[in-house]
């Protein structure tokens, strides 16, 4: 049976698609047969972030509607073995998906030997987001250190507890993980930004990882490559840690504290933080 992971947040623009792409690619790098599904019907972007936008022929909606087979619709990644993408439809409306159809797709992916199914949720708390989370075994809640994102994450946690198959059938509840993205340790240390500890205290779930605010994320998406493939960068390395932690490796958390900097760089760098904040 494939393990189904939903990447969700409630709020838009916090990094769900970036995270989905990197988690899926990272799982595949670790040797797991993985598929990333884009649930954002009408506003598909996962294919663009993963660099396969020109190879999209069929999509999730055409599979659910029986117009294409799952094998026809799956796109095999050219860089990473074991990595597949099931894109969303650009033209169909959101009502094209239904629980039963998505259930069939998830089940068939399991019989095809996939280890992980990563569901990239659309923003919001409506039908699209609820469909993306319905069959999930585990959830990665992506949160920015910012008030509206934290509040929306809390709402999403409520939905994960109530509106998923596991909740409705009274099975063991979904395992929830917190991923803090766009984090600036220096700004958190100087009290300008909610800290990871603040967010953990507010949401009360286990921390999976911290992704620092990084130019590498934009560089990667510009080129259509999941940032995890550039594991020498700060954000890429952080995502690789997240994947390894997810599959059971005990790695210490990074990017919680500001980097220690040398005397001269403290005074002569164009860093946005205070010279004495570090």
């Amino acid at each position: 049976m494939a393990k189904v992971i939903v990447v969700t947040s409630g709020k838009g623009g916090v990094g769900k698609t970036t995270t989905s792409a990197s988690i899926a690619a990272g799982m595949a790098l670790e040797g797991y047969k993985t598929v990333a599904i884009d649930f954002d019907v009408g506003l598909r972007n996962l294919d663009l972030v993963m660099g396969c936008e020109r190879r999209v022929v069929y999509d999730l909606v055409s599979v659910v509607k029986g117009e294409a087979s799952l094998r026809q619709a799956l796109i095999r990644d050219k860089r990473v073995e074991n990595l597949h993408i099931l894109p969303a439809s650009q033209t169909r409306d959101k009502e094209a998906l239904d629980l039963e159809g998505v259930g069939r797709v998830v089940k068939e992916l399991g019989t095809m030997g996939f280890d992980y199914v990563v569901c990239d949720s659309p923003a919001g708390i409506e039908k699209g987001a609820q469909l993306a989370m319905y069959y999930a075994d585990e959830a990665i809640v992506v949160t920015n250190p910012e008030v509206s994102s934290v509040r929306d994450s809390d709402r999403i946690l409520g939905l994960l507890d109530a509106k998923t198959q596991r909740a409705i059938e009274g099975r063991e509840p979904i395992k929830t993980h917190l991923l803090v993205t766009r984090y600036s340790p220096a700004r958190a240390a100087s009290g300008e930004m909610l800290s990871v500890d603040d967010i953990l205290e507010l949401l009360g779930i286990e921390l999976l990882g911290v992704i620092p605010e990084s130019q590498a994320v934009l560089n990667a998406s510009n080129q259509g490559a999941p940032v995890v493939l550039e594991s020498e960068t700060d954000a890429g390395g952080a995502y690789l840690d997240v994947v390894k932690r997810f599959v059971g490796e005990a790695l210490p958390h990074r990017f919680l504290e500001p980097e220690k900097r040398g005397f001269f760089s403290r005074f002569f760098s164009p860093s946005p933080r205070s010279a004495f904040a570090g």
């Binding site: 910012e146 008030v147 509040r151 409520g158 909610l194 603040d198 205290e201 010279a275």
Partner: protein, 114 residues
């Protein structure tokens, strides 16, 4: 440049953010389950009241409030100033009435948090 940054006043607003979030998150968790049926309850109550009075949806508010002894369901109906239909048999002069009913929903509150 970084050289004189330390001279500028910094605003440590994260603590304010955390305090505000603690309050709003706690409130939203408390009414989590209750909130889901409130719009429908409001509709149905309105339908009943509308059988006797002409009124707007906006004039009916339904709230669940936290009190010391549990949760209280509060219903507020504001009747319009001018009656368009001929007055019903009651000859009451007062046009604006306030109905307030309290009911304990402790069981629902427990459901919300479990």
């Amino acid at each position: 440049m970084g050289m004189f940054d330390f001279l500028k006043p910094r605003s440590a607003t994260a603590a304010i953010a955390k305090d505000r979030l603690q309050i709003i998150v706690a409130r939203e968790r408390r009414v989590g389950v209750g909130a889901s049926y409130l719009p429908q309850l409001q509709q149905e109550l309105l339908a009943v009241v509308a059988k006797y009075e002409k009124l707007d949806l906006d004039l009916v508010t339904v709230n669940v409030e936290q009190r010391d002894d549990g949760e209280v369901l509060e219903l507020n109906v504001v009747l319009p100033e001018e009656r368009q239909a001929p007055p019903p048999p009651t000859t009451r002069k007062k046009k604006r009435r306030k109905k307030k009913r309290g009911r304990h929903l402790a069981a629902a509150a427990n459901l919300a948090t479990s």
